[in-house]
Amino acid sequence: MLEVSNLSKKFGDFQVLENININAEKNQIYGLVGSNGCGKTTILKHIMRIYKEDEGYISFDGEEVLEGSEIIKDFYYVQDILYFPYQYTLNKLFQYEKLMYENMSEEKFQYLLKYFNVDGNKVLNKMSKGQKKQAAFVLAIAAQPKLLLLDEIVDGLDGVIKRKFWDVLLKEVMENSMTVIISSHDLKELDNICDKVGIMHEGKILKEENLEKMKEEIKRVQFAVDGEFDLGELKEYNILKTTKIGSVYICTLTGNIEDLRKYLQSNYNLLLFDTLSMSLEEIFITELGGVGYGKEE
């Protein structure tokens, strides 16, 4: 289990991270989502000890993660903008990384090369952006880490390759008790595979929750009543956002839906009442809207 507690960091006078808390379990894919520049990559770099925190604590399986600690040998980080050593092919890079990752599997590497149809003898820096992402992913999976950090890994990939990525990742998580942290802007993609999500904004985690639970907490209903209706009556149901289209109200809320239905039925002539499912993207927009993001004039 990865635990990030009260992580804070300043770059000069700028507070990049403030009291970040993350809890990612084994066999779990954790989605780190947030507005641009909110500090997702900075968190990942702290976990990898590339950056040192001003305050806070990072542990994995109960052991503090420090530079040079044994546990960090089981971490693998794929950054958003990839770097490969000059003139290296994937095969050569595999041999180099094999010196550092003791679980690096030749068998898995060869299998994934075929699966993704990547040329192991092609110079990495001459590959396309998508091919580079695949090459980096192949190495990451072949290293069989306990903690895999993927920063914008599917950015710029086509749908087929994305599906392949998720298939491999899900299989690895299930079979090898891996913990995966994915930071991404592609919320639709994460919606399908994440177990848990941390929503970030301006260096803070606004909400961290199991995705299913989050969807249960934030709901959306559409209803219509006969006659005049005042939204102010629904305060106790924690309405986050309301839109009116014709005579139909669409409300996002965290209160109890059944109680709302009963209230409307007892006080109005309820013409329509439906519960709508919320996507991660909608939850994200709702949460960030709550702190004013995207609502600037």
Binding site: T42, M48, R49, I50, Y51, K52, F75, Y76, Y83, M100
Partner: protein, 574 residues
């Protein structure tokens, strides 16, 4: 589960990866130091020296290239995300580059052997090896401190020159001291500082180019390398990887900016020492420091707007520098009027030759430096006059007090207006003062000038003075058994030819004339302090060239005596 230690495997991998650089460097070194001089049949020593310069450049480039992963955000993230600590990565680079450097050194030795060049050229290795060893560590340290490879290269050179920069800053302080406290001189102070306290020749190992390796060499090299390694270790632990740019550590950024801001004013102050007033010197130096600091900070921070913190750091640094300078001035002030008790003085010197003082000091510190030579022989060889007789030492202290009281002299040029008084004390210490005297250009001598001349007159009429100044006449020990000759000349009439005469025939009457001349000398102070007094006075007419015949063919020139007023001597020639 025990994790494997991959250090050796990574080191071997790093060494293997160096093969292309090694091949390229080998070709460069061999073509320059072996092939070209062989084909041209040229002086191979020049090419060997050129090869050594190439070696420095190649090693610096390699060190910077290997550590440049620290200077790119994505490259850094890739390498730092691997399960190898930064310390290990740096150590691997240092070992790889040390082996690479050793390989290049072997190639140069091979070229020397191939050409059959004088092996003495390899003496330079005694200086070269510490420079390279420290350079490799400093390149790593500078790469850690910098967030940009070009800056890392510049900082490697800056860090390498730090002892020199500190010396320059000290000279800057001395140059201010020189203007404020009478008797203190930049050259004298910096010579003393360099020779007794801050041994740059040891720090840079240049002293070993003509000296064999000793325990101090090994110890000093070990201390320097350990010191840089500890700094490296400390900086690795504290590096802020997020600060990519010019310089990663804020403290180091200001350290570089403040020191650099002192370099230009220091150069200015030291090179214009004695020519401009203290006020002008301080105003110009401060303006130069502000300007240099601003340019460096603007360059490092990539902004024309200077932060409040930068201004504070500069202000504090200038206050500290001023306090240090002020402190030095205060300390020096306590000693400015100090004239020793003649009883405590072993040897005294008065003149305008600071180099003479250094020679005597070196001799007294280590007489074995000048094999089988007495102090008397040394001073005679170098034309230095020192005084050991108590009467003369008393006169010099008396003259010293008079100079402290009043610095006026009659006439004099730049050099003759400089007066150095040195005392080598019985307890082994040295007291050295340097005075800039003021020329009185009026026709009449002031009382202050007269007093100086009166005291100096006593000294120049002493047998100790004459024995040293005109040793070929007055020093019996020297005179005995030598073939000394005198040849008359006339710089008014170069066609007037004279035969050389044996000094034996001339000695007695020459001594009488010389005694009279010294007795009647009105410029005794200038005669005493200015070694080229006769030439300075522009004396013309008849002169005697004194020389020693070493063999039938060879002779040693000893002196040139102007004898236009030497009636007895001139009569002898008539």
């Amino acid at each position: 589960m025990e994790k494997k230690n991959n250090f050796m495997q990574l080191l071997m991998y790093s060494i293997k990866e160096k093969r292309n650089w090694a091949l390229l460097s080998m070709v460069i070194i061999l073509v320059t130091t072996l092939m070209i001089p062989y084909i041209l049949r040229a002086d191979e020593e020049i090419f060997i020296m050129f090869g050594i310069i190439e070696l420095f450049i190649l090693v610096l480039i390699n060190c910077l290239v290997d550590n440049n992963f620290l200077h790119n955000e994505y490259k850094l993230a890739y390498y730092r995300s691997k399960p190898v600590t930064l310390r290990k990565q740096i150590i691997i680079n240092i070992i790889t580059n040390t082996l690479f450097t050793a390989f290049l050194l072997v190639l140069i030795i091979f070229s020397v052997v191939f050409h059959g060049t004088d092996y003495e050229i390899l003496d330079i290795f005694k200086t070269l090896i510490p420079w390279l060893a420290a350079g490799i560590l400093l390149a790593s340290l500078s790469s850690i401190l910098s967030g940009n490879t070009l800056m890392a290269g510049a900082m490697t050179i800056f860090n390498f020159c730090l002892p020199l920069i500190f010396f320059l800053v000290t000279m800057f302080i001395f140059s201010i001291l020189e203007n404020v406290v009478i008797g203190f001189n930049l050259n004298v102070l910096s010579d003393y500082f360099y020779n007794n306290i801050y041994r740059l020749d040891y720090l840079y190992f240049v002293i070993y180019s003509d000296k064999s390796i000793d325990f101090i060499y090994v110890l000093l090299l070990a201390v320097i390398l350990i010191f840089i390694s500890l700094l490296l270790h400390w900086c690795i632990k504290r590096r802020k990887n997020e600060n990519t740019g010019f310089i990663v550590f804020d403290g180091y950024k200001y350290f570089v900016a403040v020191l650099s801001s002192l370099i230009i004013p220091a150069f200015f102050s030291v090179s214009t020492s004695q020519y401009i007033s203290i006020l002008s010197r301080i105003v110009i130096s401060f303006s130069l420091a502000v300007l240099t600091y601003y340019i460096i900070i603007a360059f490092i921070e990539k902004s024309f707007r200077i932060s409040k913190l930068s201004i504070k750091v500069f202000a504090v640094s200038m206050v500290l520098f001023s306090a240090l300078t002020g402190g030095t001035v205060l300390v020096a002030n306590q000693y400015k009027n100090m004239v020793p008790d003649p009883e405590d003085v072993k040897i005294a010197y008065i003149g305008n030759n600071s180099w003479a003082v250094n020679e005597v000091t070196r001799f007294l510190e280590d007489p074995s430096r000048n094999e089988n030579m007495t102090l008397n022989e040394l001073t005679r060889n170098y034309g230095i006059i020192t005084f050991e007789e108590i009467e003369n030492i008393e006169s010099i202290t008396e003259l010293h007090r008079e100079i402290l009281n009043n610095q006026e002299i009659q006439g004099g040029d730049y050099y003759s207006s400089r007066c150095i008084i040195a005392y080598w004390m019985e307890d082994g210490s040295v007291l050295n003062r340097y005075y800039v005297l003021k020329a009185n250009d009026s026709q009449e001598d002031s009382r202050a000038v007269e007093i100086k001349n009166e005291i100096a007159h006593k000294i120049i009429n002493s047998s100790e003075y004459k024995r040293q100044k005109y040793y070929y006449l007055y020093d019996e020990e020297y005179y005995k058994g030598r073939s000394l000759y005198a040849k008359l000349g006339n710089n008014h009439n170069i066609l007037e030819a004279f035969e050389s005469v044996n000094l034996n025939d001339l000695r007695d009457i020459l001594i009488i004339d010389l005694d009279d001349y010294i007795e009647e000398n009105k410029d005794a102070f200038l005669e005493l302090t200015t070694w080229y007094y006769d030439k300075y006075r522009g004396r013309e007419g008849y002169y005697l060239e004194i020389y020693e015949k070493v063999s039938d063919k060879d002779s040693n020139y000893l002196d040139e005596l102007f004898i236009d007023n030497f009636t007895n001597t001139l009569n002898y020639f008539k």
